[in-house]
Amino acid sequence: MYFNMDSSFVQTLWITFKLATFTTLILFVAGLPVSYWLAHSRFRLKPVVEALISMPIVLPPSVIGYYMLVVYSPRNWLGNWLGQAFDIRLAFTFEGILIASVIFGLPFMIQPLHSGLRQLPDSLREASYTLGKSKSLTFFRVLLPNIKPSIITAIALTFAHCIGEFGIVLMVGGNMPGETRVASVAIYDEMQALNFDVANRYAIILFMVSLVLLTTIYSVNRKFDTWKMM
């Protein structure tokens, strides 16, 4: 009995960190081009795009969760098409909560990257262009290496936020052990079952991980504060 509970404890933590890692990876790869576009585009509807990306900060997770469930539902075209064509079901699956948490984590990845890129003087980019270097080479060799603090902040913040995510995972994923049950949901569940001991173990781990990640962000930013551009 004791062994069983322990393995489900480990399993829940494993799903929690797997979700956070995949979410962060996907968002980092997708966030770089989006942030670059936001920092340099003169598209007139850019404020709308920026607002959409930032929505998760102000909207209750239940709102986004609700819409995700609507979209995932086999009664709607996307959910139906995914089910018909690929036999994919997103509601109450790991893939489902992964997509939801990618969408929910967007602002935490994009905002630091975007502001990092915007703070670089334009002349760096222009100098590289006038030295004959392509846009992509300039991006990877000149721009990215000079926003390291922003990159570290974006990654740590996205990861930490994803671990702490509760509402949207519960809405979209439910609480299925081994599939969609993550630590934050498990705490709530164990509390209701009056298993204070287990809830406490989850809580301590989440508390410590978040503390370490945020301390990393602050110490990195302090180190780079003295590292002024010009």
Partner: protein
Amino acid sequence: MENDVIHIDVSKTMFTANGTVTLAVSTTIRSGELVALFGPSGAGKTTLLRILAGLVTPDRGTVKVGQTVWFDSGNGINLAPQKRNLSLMFQDYALFPNMTVEQNIRFAQPENDRKYTEELLTVFELNEFRNRRPNGLSGGQKQRVALARALARKPGLLLLDEPLSALDAGMRITLQDEIVRAHRLSGATTLLVSHDLNEVFRLVSHVLCIENGRILREGNPSDVFSDRSISGKVQITGQIACIEKQDTVNIVTVISNGNQIIRVIAFDSDIENLSVGDQVIVFTKAFNPIISKIA
């Protein structure tokens, strides 16, 4: 090395602090020459440089370098900055903070050329800083790195945007020599933005005076800036710092380009079209300069 006569005939509406100004420039720059763009801020000097670099697109016109068309609004040609054989040295130097001095120079080379890197490091006396990053350098050192980096790709056209404006007077003189050296070393046609007369006189053989977006005068600096109608023997150019009224006369304070303070007495009629900030010549007629030994 592309090193040809540059034909410029462009116009561009600029939005400056003083409202919109139309930059309309038509000129030819001879191959291999060291030319200054001189004029007050907001006149369009930097914009013209950025148009040549391909960073700003003119409203209409053409830019031709030898037989190569860089820009032609009529035919929809606009070469990307990457495709123009030039280097632009920015006012803030724009050194890459993530790279060392040596890496900054090597980044600029189309192909790795160790020998030329070493030559540049030596010529600009950067050997002892080669492994330092730009944020650990002084203003003068940064300027030398920026010059070396600009030369590293062996450009046909070298554009310098107020290269010395961030430096103090003593440092300027030393680094003016570096610019001449850079020009000789590369043989590149060099365009230098400046609003320092002293710099223009010392460095260049040809100057384009730009004001309100137009080239007002061009030619040899001493022809352009000395008013030949004055038969003076002593001429000092400078800028009016203040005009004070004292009884029946005015005292005009002029800061010379050598940073000397000169006070000149003027009557009301003399200062009618003078105002603070104007570039002026202070001169004396044949007899009154007095020479005196400094004890």
